[in-house]
Point group: C2
Chain length 399, copies 2
């Protein structure tokens, strides 16, 4: 196992993030931004816990346009937040359905309200409201003079471009992901129930250094699988199955997100052909993944190759996305997304197609945009559909 | 390994859930309910996928007050939703930030709007809005005559009381959790970095039949740990540490949620005493866990024992909660929660206290409310703080 990067970030990294945010806030007319979601609170504070899985308690981080961030959080988090760089930490005994942080927020935001200032809230694409909507409405009723403005674009601008320390974590987990896919022939064989294959994959990733494997989906069926978001069945793998595993494993709160396809003992021609098209579509994506090109350009480059076999979209709506603290992040490689690629963006390329009798196939790599050809974080998939035979990959012969 | 229950549910279970919901909708004045969150969509449809981890796409399930549910979902989920009992499935090519399901929802809800009817949305405690707030506001602007009413209480009433099939899944994962805690002495010893202990715990749970271990937190420090929601450090375990692991492992989308404490090689008196108090507080909770008592009664029964050592609350706000498809669910064992316990509610008892120099300790069991003494789903923790020595638990001697 290669050396794992240090956990957490230097204080200077958080200061840099806040400084950039505050610069943009002044430019874009925000007097403060109230953050409620795990990745955003973590991005600016370093507060990192799985406790967000409990839906019971809301958590808040306020960024003023000048000065230090303020955490408004349940008391159960006081110790952990106290170990971050955040110094102004205000807590209440949560849960308290009658007042889950609302009066603390009213105190904090009172001056903005009195001055008729503008408060940023995430209201845009790929966001949600991680507090009860009723509480949000009550909060806003208590701040009648505040101007609420969507801060999604500002936060997206910052989070899409990764720091060197973030890229080191992403590179590490992608290497672990690649190493894990190399072990798949050890446990994916004829007769192995798919459920057991999933469990063995997770165990393997943990052995190889993943903190966790929060995301693992896939499918297996004769001559191809039919959807790409299923949990595993107990069906045993059969000769002629095409198996796909798509994983989001994590290290220190950063995700890899890629998949691999395997044929069990033998591969049918249609699946080999679909694989070849997707492999070349990914090559086209890699060729187009240059600073200055747009996500739409990436989409068009990959679509052009996919169209050799499938002139419909495979219902997935896009051909890749950003990657970081979330399994999927802005931007989207889709016709609607004209985000310009910049150095240090970390993205996936994820071409997919439909073929045969309702079969689908996906293919995915993770990479960093750099000056020139992109830096692959996942080890590039084999150019031909790997066939698992006798516990190892048999080189396939192209028809 | 004991036999795992069947995955999924019979169609009759979904019909029963919908029938009950529709009965309550008529009573409580809802013409329809729009659900957006993973547990609720799964509860009524059976749609089960980890794909919810991607924040990119919203998913909707509409329950009319009479008739069948309607799924309004991204195309990528069409195949999987098509395998549930839901027949009316409307899809769009998501992501599409310009119209992520909104025009489909406007079509669906148009008749309610025209009639000035009442639409239920989850706006209450322990809920969030899993769609962009901006899209929600646009949707509501398009339905000016609809009455929006909080449906949290109705959904909570249903979900709090589990079916036999749900209890079988919960019992199964709790047994796997208990079996996993039995393996902790194999890997938690002096010199083992806490990070490695977490990884070994996850691998062990997977070997023993867990689908996944989405939640694992804990701590270890000399004479007690300081918070209960941290990810693991790389610090090696030391003689005299108190180690706590708290896990939410899953089987078929149902969670266990309990913790165990261990002393490494030797236990200090203060930690032994804290453990004893919490063990007896749990006993008091078990004695009070009877149909007809309230969550507040449970809280008071446990608080009375905890007060022997700690007359402050340990900042956690409650002493247990509901358990099911989420790591934590309604109700809360807290002074504010007067929910009456009913047969087939599945809950945790989770007393906690502060002691010594800023130390905290937690203790947790999972159980089903039945007629009479509750049925424990987790195997009851040892009555005295277990001490790990030479790869096994050494019986402790009470001072």
């Amino acid at each position: 196992m290669h050396e794992a990067p240090a956990r957490g970030f230097e204080r200077s990294e958080f200061e840099a993030r806040l400084n950039k945010a505050q610069g943009l806030m002044v430019q874009q007319g925000f007097d403060g931004i109230l953050l409620l979601s795990e990745p955003e609170v973590r991005y600016f504070s370093g507060f990192h816990t799985l406790f967000w899985q409990s839906p019971t308690r809301p958590w808040f981080l306020y960024l003023p346009s000048a000065g230090e961030p303020v955490a408004v959080i349940p008391g159960i988090g006081a110790d952990l937040m106290g170990r971050t760089w955040v110094r102004d930490i205000r807590t209440w005994d949560a849960p308290n359905p009658g007042d889950d942080g609302i009066s603390l927020l009213l105190d904090l935001l009172g001056p903005l309200n009195a001055a008729g200032h503008t408060l940023g809230i995430l209201k845009g694409h790929e966001t949600g409201l991680r507090m009860p909507l009723g509480d949000y409405e009550r909060l806003m009723d208590g701040l009648p003079n505040i101007g609420v403005k969507d801060a999604t674009k500002l936060i997206r601008q910052l989070r899409m471009v990764k720091s060197e320390a973030e890229i080191a974590k992403l590179a590490h987990i992608c290497t672990i992901g690649s190493n894990t896919f190399d072990t798949v022939p050890n446990f994916a064989h004829e007769g192995a129930p798919l459920e057991g294959v999933f469990r063995a994959f997770r165990r393997s990733a943990l052995s190889l250094g993943a903190d966790d494997v929060p995301y693992l989906v896939g499918g297996a069926d004769q001559g191809g699988y039919q959807d790409v978001i299923s949990p595993p069945s107990r069906r045993p793998l059969q000769v002629g199955d095409i198996l796909m595993l798509d994983t989001g494993a994590t290290f220190d709160g950063y995700f890899c997100d890629f998949d691999r396809n395997f044929a069990i003992t033998r591969a049918d021609d249609a699946s080999r052909q679909a694989y070849d098209v997707l492999w070349r579509a990914t090559e086209a994506g890699l060729d187009a993944a240059r600073p200055g090109n747009t996500c739409r350009d990436l989409f068009i480059a990959m679509r052009r190759v996919i169209a050799e076999l499938d002139d419909q979209d495979a219902n997935v709506g896009r051909l890749g996305h950003g990657l970081g603290m979330q399994l999927t992040e802005w931007p989207s490689h889709a016709a609607f997304d004209e985000t310009v690629l910049q150095e240090n963006m970390v993205i996936t390329l994820e071409p997919s197609l439909c073929y045969g009798d309702g079969r689908t196939m996906v293919h995915e790599e993770n990479l960093v945009i750099v000056d020139g050809a992109p830096r692959l974080l996942s080890r590039r998939a084999a150019p031909e559909l790997p066939v698992i035979q006798g516990g190892q990959i048999e080189a396939t012969i192209r028809n």
